[in-house]
Amino acid sequence: MNPIFQGLITIVVGVGGCVGYFYFANLILDRFIFPAKGPEAGRNINRANQVRPWLFLFPAMFALSLYLVYPVFGSFIRSLYNRAGTEFIGFGNYLNLFGDSAFQTAFFNNFLWVLVVPAMATFLGLLVAQLTDRLAWGNIAKSLIFMPMAISFVGASLIWRFVYAADPDIGIINAIRVYFGAEALDPLQVPFWNNFFLMVILIWIQTGFAMVILSAALRGIPEETVEAAIIDGANPFQVFFRIKVPQIMGTIVVVWTTITILVLKVFDIVYAMTGGNFDTEILPSYMMDFMFRDDGRATAVAFVIMIVVLPVMIWNIVQARKEMR
């Protein structure tokens, strides 16, 4: 069958199925289960209205539990079994993890990532949002800064491989070094600092995200509070840090935590740039190393990541809700 035709059928069946579900489920509820007639009409209408939200939410809740809640428990159980999944070993995988120096490095590196990337991306995003606000070409600058958001992590890594290339004819860093008479080196092999060179890539990508959200938030600040501060004698720095930033603190926190959660998920950059060599491993890439080879251990890492992310996530949601009110 023609693939276009196939695609169309899928769309029609999918959309039609959704519409049909809501239509017929509603119909059955109103006509047959709690009909709005007979001696109990009033009570039936109330009961139908109580059931209706759950009826409509059911598909989403079903899909979420199937693809999200079930895997969480599934993974946890899997992480309690051995490599082949044949033998229950309790917390053996976790004990092994914490004893593994590679895991400790990954944990420490990840800690650095969480510390640096969200802070830098949020800070730079805020800076750019503020600086481009009044510029005539501010929107062009913003579009350019936002563009990396559209590139996949692997794509971005490829670009930065050129930037970091050891060959001074390709890598700009080494080109500059050589120009000033220094020797070419591979930045990705410089111990400790190579972590930061990798972080730069994610900061480069995420600054655009932070900028867009924070720029909207800055625009939402009532202009008069700024004018009042100017009349009160505040200089531009004081206006920014004492009037503007506190007013968008909620948004800053949301951006910050959103990026933090992302940082705990990104393995692509490390995977594509160094493959985790030269002590640049982070938790997600460490997990990838074991996936399909030792699923018990990989799911254990996944679980550690989840436990680390959870508090950040809760905070994020609480803040985001506050913002929406």
Binding site: T225, E227, A229, I230, I231, D232, G233, A234, P246
Partner: protein, 377 residues
């Protein structure tokens, strides 16, 4: 504690859109000047230019004899109260009021003293540790006023400070502002409003802005009793002054007028010159100055189309003489519902009859009067 002088001040946006021109004002220390005018006439713009939030594109602004065109807002010795209050939402009332002093690097003792004094003046002592969002509209407005008092400015600027309050609170706050002004007789205040009652009750002088310029400056009663043009005549007072077509039939110390609509003859205390004889004029009579009469020297007669009995007064709307004319309105004290559909003759005392030739009052014939060229309402 300061006087202001505006000389030929103008404002042009983007080099082409001129919103204000030839603004000349002398404001003395201790005055409470009210800017009024139709929406969009540039009241806020002028206030913001005085504050330093808007660039002055032409002319000169002096505060205390010093040209301040290029002096930043904080060094002009002004404080501004915004319509939206503009409180800092993340700071407590105390911090809101203390902000300017903290920026200025004042000592903690000094700040506390100033804040407490202002809070006492405005009955805000119990709210000092609250955030603005936990205050009512009237309380927020008082904090905004407190924030400016704390700085002890030379000039207070208010941009429609009461327009976000409900009617009752507006009256109460208006009286508070009047009392505040009395406590601080030294300070100069400039106040923008849409509300005629606010303007009439608070102002030492009113500036009527319209069509990009100043239509008239004067005490509230001057504007009410001796408007210099038909524009000001119709802008001040509610309902607006009736303008009736007529011509001058007798000149001298007083002027005798013959009216087109309704056809009567009346006298005005406005003096006129012999050459005015026969000149077409507009005769202005305020609705509240009209009285019912049986005599033949009535100013106007017509059929009452609608009556609005408001209790202490009744408004009479007469049949329009032409569809595009405003109806003549009379305001009689007491309740007069029975006049509906009747033919009524009205007249007014000579001192209440205003005469405008070419839209300029005969009283101001020797002065240059700015005609805004827009409708007052």
């Amino acid at each position: 504690m300061a006087d202001l002088k505006l000389t030929d001040v103008e404002k042009t946006y983007g080099g082409t859109v001129q919103v204000l021109r030839d603004i000349n004002l002398d404001i003395d220390q201790g005055e409470l000047i009210v800017f009024v005018g139709p929406s969009g006439c540039g009241k806020s713009t002028l206030l913001r230019m005085i504050a330093g939030l808007e660039k002055i594109t032409g002319g000169e602004l002096q505060i205390d004899g010093q040209v301040v065109n290029d002096v930043p807002p904080s060094e002009r010795g002004i404080a501004m109260v915004f319509q939206s209050y503009a409180l800092y939402p993340h700071m407590t009332v105390r911090d809101n009021m203390a902000f300017a002093l903290k920026i200025a690097g004042k000592s903690k003792a000094e700040i506390d003293e100033a804040v407490n004094a202002a809070a006492a003046k405005l009955q805000l002592e119990n709210f000092l540790d609250r955030l603005p969002k936990a205050l009512s509209g009237g309380q927020r407005q008082r904090v905004a006023i407190g924030r400016s008092i704390v700085r002890d400015p030379k000039v207070y600027l208010f941009d429609e400070p009461l327009s976000n309050l409900d009617a009752a609170l507006r009256v109460a706050t208006r009286i508070e502002i009047a009392q505040l002004k009395e406590q601080m007789p030294e300070s100069t205040m400039i106040y923008v409003t849409h509300d005629q009652v606010e303007a009439m009750t608070l102002a030492s002088r009113i500036v009527v802005l319209a069509g990009g310029g100043v239509a008239q400056v004067g005490s509230p009663l001057t504007l009410y009793e001796k408007p210099n043009s038909t524009f000001v005549a119709q802008f001040i007072g509610s309902p607006a002054m009736n303008l009736l077509g007529g011509k001058i039939v007798g000149t001298g110390e007083t002027t005798t007028l013959e009216l087109e609509e309704g056809g009567g003859t009346i006298t005005s205390h406005y003096p006129s010159k012999p050459e005015d004889m026969g000149a077409p004029v507009k005769v202005g009579i305020r609705p509240e100055d009209m009285t019912e009469t049986d005599a033949n020297d009535f100013a106007y007669h017509g059929t009452v189309e609608i009556t609005e009995a408001l209790g202490e007064v009744t408004l009479l709307y007469f049949q329009k003489s032409a569809p595009d004319h405003d109806p003549v309105i009379g305001k009689l004290s007491g309740i007069h519902k029975e006049l509906r559909g009747q033919d009524v003759k009205l007249t007014a005392a000579p001192e209440k009859v205003h005469v405008f030739k070419d839209d300029i009052s005969l009283l101001y014939r020797d002065e240059t009067v700015f005609l805004p060229g827009v409708q007052p309402h």
